[in-house]
């Protein structure tokens, strides 16, 4: 099949029914915001700004919230066998005009990969999937219902190609759509679909995960809804920096995250806190010594462990998860990724596996050909 062959009918349909103002050069890649993960964490964990409960057994002493977790390397304990990550690229294609409505038309490539690590430390892709999304608004901010109906008919059954409404609300785009935020929403919706693809792909390892073979998900353990898969943790490199922690009698002891993480010793973890009504236990782990990084919050990851039964996490399990996680600091993608200090290399490889499967910008440019409107040349008129 010709690459992106499913795209041309959609472009033809849009061109026939809309006035199209193509982007300069055919398409423009939307650059990601540098703190997009942090913003996402704030949106997804909006109700968790104030942390007051521990979710660890035995219940931690509020005056001592750090536990040492020296690295436990793969030869001693190979705990994390699977790693899952998603990646996306979004492109602004054109401005569509229908009646008196004008709106952005965006294209996104999303993908997710599950990587498997063998006993020798060799990582290979287990499953990778890619999808193409055509993102444009529907209704009063976008295309008419008639055109929308025609566009949706172009969705492929295997969901390789999907037309998506950029006015939809989800965990990442909770606000109302406006003319001004349609482009930003397209990016958010593409991220949401990417996360959904990740969650779909967790099931690929369901039969293989057990107490000796865990999976790491890049990012949070909750999206629109809670991930309930066992033997899985979410590891976030970037996380919100505004939570407040209140412990003790009457929640009298108040700490902000900066203070907590600045005091977190090297190769240690915080005790597990409760989020989402006890359905998620989360804690922080310092992978790198503070002297090795630029500021105290670098080299720290946030670990989220789904607790669908709301049971506190056993301290020994949290220690084991953290110790094996500290060992994941070697090797690093230093030089390739600014987040190297808290990036897990197998996750970085998953990103690479996805991105190498994406169509390059050159291929996209070659495929996105807006048909020229019928010319009304002078000689015809004669």
């Amino acid at each position: 099949m010709q690459p992106l062959a499913f795209l041309q009918p959609a472009l033809n349909l849009l061109n026939t029914n809309l006035d199209i103002l193509p982007a300069v050069g055919g398409a423009v890649e939307d650059l990601l915001q540098p703190d997009v993960d942090e913003i996402e964490d704030m949106l997804i964990n909006a109700e968790s700004r104030e942390v007051t409960e521990f979710l660890e057994a035995p219940t931690p002493d509020p005056s001592n919230i750090y536990r040492p977790t020296p690295p436990l390397y793969r030869p001693q304990k190979h705990l994390y066998h699977y790693f899952i990550d998603g990646s996306l690229r979004t492109y602004y294609l054109a401005t569509g005009i229908e009646g008196n409505r004008s709106f952005p038309i965006e294209l996104a490539q999303i993908g997710a990969a599950v990587m498997q690590r063998d006993a020798y430390g060799v990582v290979r892709p287990l499953v990778t999937r890619q999808r193409i999304l055509l993102l444009l608004p529907r209704g009063q901010l976008g295309v008419s219902d008639t055109l929308w109906g025609e566009l949706k008919k172009l969705n492929t059954p295997d969901r390789t190609f999907e037309v998506i409404d950029t006015t939809e609300k989800n965990a990442i785009t909770p606000d109302e759509a406006t003319v001004e935020n349609l482009r930003a929403r397209a990016g958010g919706i593409a991220r949401n679909r990417m996360h959904k693809l990740e969650i779909e792909m967790i099931s690929q390892t369901d039969a293989h995960r057990n107490k000796s073979a865990w999976q790491i998900l890049d990012g949070a353990a909750k999206l629109d809804e809670l991930i309930k898969s066992p033997f899985l943790i979410g590891v976030a490199k970037n996380f919100r920096k505004d939570p407040e922690f209140r412990f003790g009698r009457g929640h009298g002891r108040r700490l902000d995250i900066t203070k907590i993480l600045a005091g977190l010793p090297y190769a240690s973890r915080t005790v597990a806190f409760s989020a989402h009504g006890g359905q998620v236990a989360f804690w922080y782990v310092r992978l790198r010594e503070q002297k090795e990084v630029d500021y105290p919050l670098m080299g720290v990851v946030k670990v989220e462990l789904p607790r669908p039964d709301q049971a506190p996490v056993d301290a020994e399990l949290a220690d084991l998860l953290s110790r094996t996680l500290v060992a994941e600091r070697n090797v690093t993608p230093y030089g390739h990724d600014n987040r190297w200090h808290c990036h897990l290399y197998p996750i970085f490889l998953a990103e690479q596996a996805i991105k190498t499967g994406f169509y390059s910008k050159d291929v996209l440019m070659g495929m996105i050909r807006w048909p020229r409107p019928a010319q009304t040349s002078l000689w015809r008129e004669k």
Binding site: Y73, P75, R117, G121, V331, G335, H336, Y345, L349, Q352
Partner: protein, 554 residues
């Protein structure tokens, strides 16, 4: 049914490292072993309607690449240089092999596309890759086995030299270089001579002259040595050759003091002593002074006059019947007033005499005699009667440098004369051999790389440049090719290179080798040699068997 060949990698072109019509790169899976000089095959396009062609490549270098952008990334990946830290995940990396294009089965030299599967070349492919397949098909009798190409997958193929490019008429001569002791230059030359003789349909028309320059290494070449180990026998047999000593050898040993043979023990059972008296050397006096600095040409002038006197039998010739007589004549001439023959001052004659006396009297090894005994022959007389099918071993191991130069020059001049003109002195009834192959080690002594062109150097250059048409073939060896006159090595259509130091291999004389191959030359093991032959598109690495004749060590 033969087993389906297994792929060993895929070609890889990147933004920075393109595949060209000359080179291609391919990555290797973790469980594949490939080494420099392996020959690989890859599918290539062909004309419409034709089945895909194949391109062959010679692996030159291998490099391991990872995704670490710099060494600092690896240092940091060990938790900032902590040696006790272990990598939980292996960094992504692969070994990439670079290959020089050897040939294409359809003569298509478009760059090989990326992502094509690579295979080890099969033995039949190797002949095609080297360009010797047509030789084997059409002129099998001209194919001379020159070693075994053994690849990392265990496959082996014989490297053949084309006789027409080895012994003429297309091109000729072989030059062997490499570090002493490791490069096994002499052993290889002896193997190659065996291969030439064993495969020649006309071996009775080929004569071989070997100069023995070290110990008694080559003084038993017709005596069978101890039984070779099975793997050595297999090597001989793999090349279709028989491990055996030389069939008919004649040993020419220099006379020593008091008429004894002057060679390292053990001396051959049967040999002929050779010596030089003045009348027999008159024509070769120039060779005697090859190593003497003669910037003004005075020495050349004096020996020219002496030669003139002797050849024309002038009155003074009566005083020049022996070396002693000549020295005495020169002593008297040197003290007489006036210029000798109106040209040379007494001091010049004195200087000439001192050199001559040193060479033929005070520092000589016994080879120079005032009069030869019946059993002491002139080397030139022996070689004038050279016969095909015979291997002549001329021992010069114990001779002084000036004497070695004289002997080698004498051999070249005699053979050249025998081949170039109908020599009156030849009494041998058998016809003059079609080919005379001369093997000499330490060629740098006789044709040094500096600009000085002494009589011996000119003689060597003459053979190198014109010997091919006469059927005089030089197989020469030396440690450093750069130390030999470039016209001598440049005229060798076949170059054999053993392990060589990096400074030497980067000399201009080795420019015919790709830079990657030059680096690989520094790593060649003992017994491994690189062959660059006029027919080959790239040099190949070969191994060869040990000789079957008795060696000094055995």
């Amino acid at each position: 049914m033969s087993e389906e060949p297994k792929p060993i990698g895929r070609t890889s072109a990147t933004e920075r490292d393109a595949i060209t019509s000359e080179k291609f790169a391919f990555w290797l899976p973790d469980d594949v072993i490939v080494n420099p000089f392996d020959i690989v095959a890859v599918e290539q396009v062909n004309q419409p309607g034709e089945s895909a062609s194949r391109t062959f490549g010679l692996v030159t270098t291998l490099e391991h690449r990872t995704d670490a952008p710099n060494h600092l990334a690896n240092y940091i990946s060990s938790n900032f240089g902590q040696l006790g830290e272990q990598p939980n995940t292996n960094r992504q990396g692969t070994t990439v092999a670079m290959a020089n294009v050897l040939s294409n089965t359809a003569d298509i030299y478009m760059p090989v596309p990326s992502e094509r599967l690579i295979y080890f070349a099969q033995p039949a492919d190797i002949q095609q890759a080297l360009g010797t397949d047509i030789l084997l098909k059409e002129r099998k009798s001209d194919a001379i086995p020159a070693g075994l190409i053994r690849m990392s997958n265990g496959a082996a193929a014989v490297a053949y030299l084309d006789r027409r490019y080895l012994l003429g008429p297309e091109s000729a001569h072989v030059n062997i270089s490499g570090i002493s002791g490791l490069a096994t230059k002499t052993s290889y030359a002896m193997f190659l001579l065996q291969a030439i003789l064993q495969t020649a349909a006309d071996k009775d028309k080929i004569a071989v002259i070997i100069l023995n320059v070290k110990q008694a290494d080559l003084l038993q070449v017709d005596v069978r040595g101890p039984e070779l180990p099975p793997e050595q026998k297999e090597l001989w047999e793999a090349m279709g050759l028989t491990p055996k000593p030389f069939d008919r050898a004649r040993y020419l040993i220099p006379r020593g003091e008091k008429g004894a043979p002057n060679c390292f023990p053990p001396e051959p059972n049967v040999y002929t002593l050779y010596a030089y008296d003045l009348p027999g050397t008159a024509e070769k006096l120039d060779l005697l002074f090859s190593n003497v600095a003669d910037t003004s040409g005075t020495i050349e002038g004096i020996y020219g006059e002496i030669k003139e006197i002797m050849v024309n039998n002038e009155p003074d010739a009566q005083k020049m019947q022996s070396w002693s007589g000549l020295l005495e004549y020169l002593r008297q001439t040197g003290v007489e007033k006036g210029r000798w023959r109106g040209m040379f001052a007494g001091s010049s004659i004195g200087m000439f005499r001192r050199h001559l006396r040193r060479i033929v009297q005070t520092r000589q090894t016994g080879i120079f005699v005032d009069s030869r005994a019946r059993n002491e022959k002139l080397l030139a007389d022996e070689l004038t009667n050279i016969k095909g099918g015979v291997t002549y071993v001329v021992d010069i191991a114990k001779l002084a440098d000036d004497e070695q130069t004289l002997v080698f020059g004498d051999i070249l001049r005699t053979i050249y004369a025998v081949k170039a003109e109908a020599v009156e002195d030849r009494s041998e009834k058998a016809p003059v051999p079609d080919k005379v192959i001369i093997f000499v080690d330490e060629l740098n002594k006789y044709a040094p790389g500096d600009s000085k062109e002494s009589p011996i150097t000119l003689q060597v250059l003459d053979v190198a440049e014109r010997g091919r048409s006469l059927g005089v073939i030089l197989i020469s060896a030396q440690q450093f090719m750069s130390a030999v006159h470039p016209r001598a090595t440049g005229n060798s259509a076949t170059k054999i290179i053993g392990r060589t130091g990096s400074s030497e291999v980067n000399a201009p004389d080795y420019r015919f080798l790709d830079q990657d191959i030059r680096s690989a030359v520094t790593r060649l093991a003992k017994g491994e040699l690189l062959i660059s032959h006029a027919v080959y598109r790239q040099p190949v690495k070969v191994i060869f068997p040990k000789p079957a004749y008795k060696q000094e060590q055995s």
